[in-house]
Amino acid sequence: MARTATEWLEALRELGVERPVRIMNVCGGHERSISIAGLRSVVPANIELVPGPGCPVCICPEEDVYEAMQLALHEDITLVAFGDMLRVPVNVPKKDPRSLEQAKAAGGDIRPIASPTEAVRIARENPERKVVFFAAGFETTTAPVAAMLAEGAPENLLVLLSGRLTWPAVAMLLDSDKPGFDALIAPGHVATVMGPEEWGFVVDKHDIPAAVSGFTPESLVAGMYSVMQQLRDGRRDLDNCYPQVVRPGGNAEARRQLSDVMEVVDANWRGIGVIPASGFALRDAYAAHDARQHFQSYADESRKRVGEMPPGCDCAKVVLGKIYPNECRLYGAACTPRKPIGPCMVSDEGACRIWWSSGTRENVWEGRKRDALG
């Protein structure tokens, strides 16, 4: 007797929890569904829905994007990358190409792809040429990259890996003085691969209610209902509101391939810093496919703002749920999807892009300025 989203909403309103509660989500897909369904305007007023670290493009190290651009510009290679990485800006002097898209225009052989299969196909079609796959993503995209290597990729296919785990960012927030949320909606797709158990620490160690949700309004509101009910009853358990696909233990084969091919290492998150045990690196057995081993590094520590967000850009705060997208001074003013400054306005998973495309145009700062004048 599955409830509809409307019925879940009704149940949520009847729960009778009146204190303010901030519920964080950890997936661009969640944020998109919430925005498109207009959920913020219908949940009880005491519930705040906070977009959290759910965008792999947004936290992909600036140095890694820079490295990918330099490889494409200076080595005789074809660089393939997921489409939404192409417009992410790096910090370089004005005259230099500042994104993979501009590096492509400057002569780099850079091609957008949608899946590792395409990377393999392009490598097979060009056996005489090195193809570098700039693989940035969370567990859901990194697992297929591991599978691709485990199952035997063409010799000329190298991987510039920039894979990240989602839960350590949430752990970092919870270990900080001000986590900024009272309940968590855990990402359904990540849990499908890695198993929901990964998120157990949220309830066990931090006493924060959590639920794994899918991407329909039904599943999301069910998750919200679950965490609010846990709060009301003083009960904590990691609820699975996406049982259709999320199974205990996740996808055993995908996890095995991930651990066969990659190890978990400390990793840098753009604008946030190093988070312990939050990234993937290729194991030595796969060194032959590791672009970092194969090419010299183009890292240039003398670059201005290396590793940081662009000047004035609050993407890091948005990613960590510290501010809403339209609380960044650049939102909708200097930074729009057409002329993005920060990565959150580039990626389809970025909260700024999602808010913009679902109709939020007003920048809080502009509103305040107008109110002060008017």
Binding site: A5, T6, L9, R32, S35, I36, A37, G38, L39, R40, S41, V42, A114, S115, F215, P217, V221, T336, P337, R338, D348, S357, S358, G359, T360, R361
Partner: protein, 333 residues
């Protein structure tokens, strides 16, 4: 015609060009009784205000489930006349064909253009062909200019729209845009969705009998959200779309996968009408009795005081539909 591909000689004004025009175009367009010799021809329009419109067609791929660039070149232009309250009568046709284009494909496209013209009740009365060098065109581009005569009855225009008016749509939105995109197979997606491209005269003409008919438009590029913005811009009145906008399941899932909003995707055979509130039911009943209007529904209302385009969601929430910026699907018409 012996050639199986278009060459530059088919555009040089000589024998090959004459043969192309006579054997491919004039033959298929027999019903139009096109005079290929004349520099200019007279057209008989009868009585009534004459309306004229023009449109260019660059769709990729050239052929898609439910139509091709040829049929689209007829529907796109005649539908613009129809929603303005006219009966389309004549079309002119310009074809820009790329060197190397397969003759068989050209014949197929011209044939469906001719069939669409017969179905729409228009004659192709003048035309021109050009051949562009290889690499300078996307296979074939078409341009059509349409002439029609205003029908008696309501004179639909943006200026007629009033606070409280009701918006209706003749069927599900976004089929054309999605079908064309699926036909590109760019995203590894496949589907059996068919474009809604087709003539809309059967839908527009009966509504002219309603004195409460304010405005009609076919939601092509930019989808119904863009119609909302046109209304807002022209009248200063807000538009509230209700949670009833019909979207087919495959369109919905493609949108979910690619992060598109179906309300911005194009149709090529649907009509949105704005009607006085007391005649909305009547207008719907007229459409629902027609084969192309079975799925017609009320989708929104005009609201003074809210100068936005607002979408009410099925959960009772709402969000703004902003003016389209970057087209997710370029070259769909």
């Amino acid at each position: 015609m012996d050639d199986d591909r278009i060459s530059l000689a088919h555009g040089n004004g000589g024998r090959f060009m004459r043969e192309l025009i006579e054997e491919v175009f004039a033959k298929a367009l027999e019903a139009s009784e096109i005079d290929v010799q004349a520099d200019a021809v007279p057209i008989d329009l009868g009585d009534g205000e004459v309306l004229i419109t023009t449109d260019g067609f660059t769709v990729q791929p050239l052929e898609f489930p439910g139509g091709n660039i040829g049929s689209l070149a007829v529907h796109g232009t005649t539908n613009d006349l129809a929603v303005a309250g006219a009966r389309p009568m004549y079309l002119t046709l310009n074809a820009f064909i790329e060197e190397g284009f397969e003759m068989e494909r050209l014949e197929r496209i011209v044939r469906s253009l001719a069939d669409a013209a017969v179905e729409a009740g228009v004659r192709i009365s003048a035309g021109d062909t050009k051949v562009v060098r290889r690499g300078e065109g996307g296979g074939i581009y078409l341009a059509t200019t349409g002439v029609g005569v205003r029908l008696p009855g309501a004179v639909p225009s943006l200026k007629q729209i009033r606070d409280g008016d009701v918006m209706i749509v003749s069927g599900p939105v976004g089929d054309h845009g999605t079908a064309v995109m699926l036909a590109r197979e760019e995203f590894g997606l496949r589907g059996d969705l068919v474009s809604d491209a087709g003539p809309v005269m059967a839908l527009t003409e009966p509504l002219l009998a309603l004195d409460g008919l304010r405005f009609m438009r076919d939601p092509t590029r930019g989808g119904i959200a863009s119609i909302g913005h046109e209304i807002l811009k022209a009248t200063g009145l807000g538009v509230r779309f209700e949670a009833t906008i019909p979207v087919r399941e495959p369109v919905q899932s493609v949108c979910e996968m690619l992060g598109y909003d179906p309300y911005y995707l194009a149709c090529e055979g649907r009509v949105v009408a704005v009607v006085a509130p007391d005649q909305a039911e009547k207008a719907l009943a007229i459409w629902q009795a027609l084969p192309d209007g079975k799925e017609a529904v009320r989708i929104g209302r005009i609201v003074a005081g809210e100068q936005r385009v607002i979408l009410e969601t099925p959960l009772g929430g709402e969000r703004f539909l902003e003016e389209l910026e970057d087209d997710p699907l370029p070259r769909i018409c």
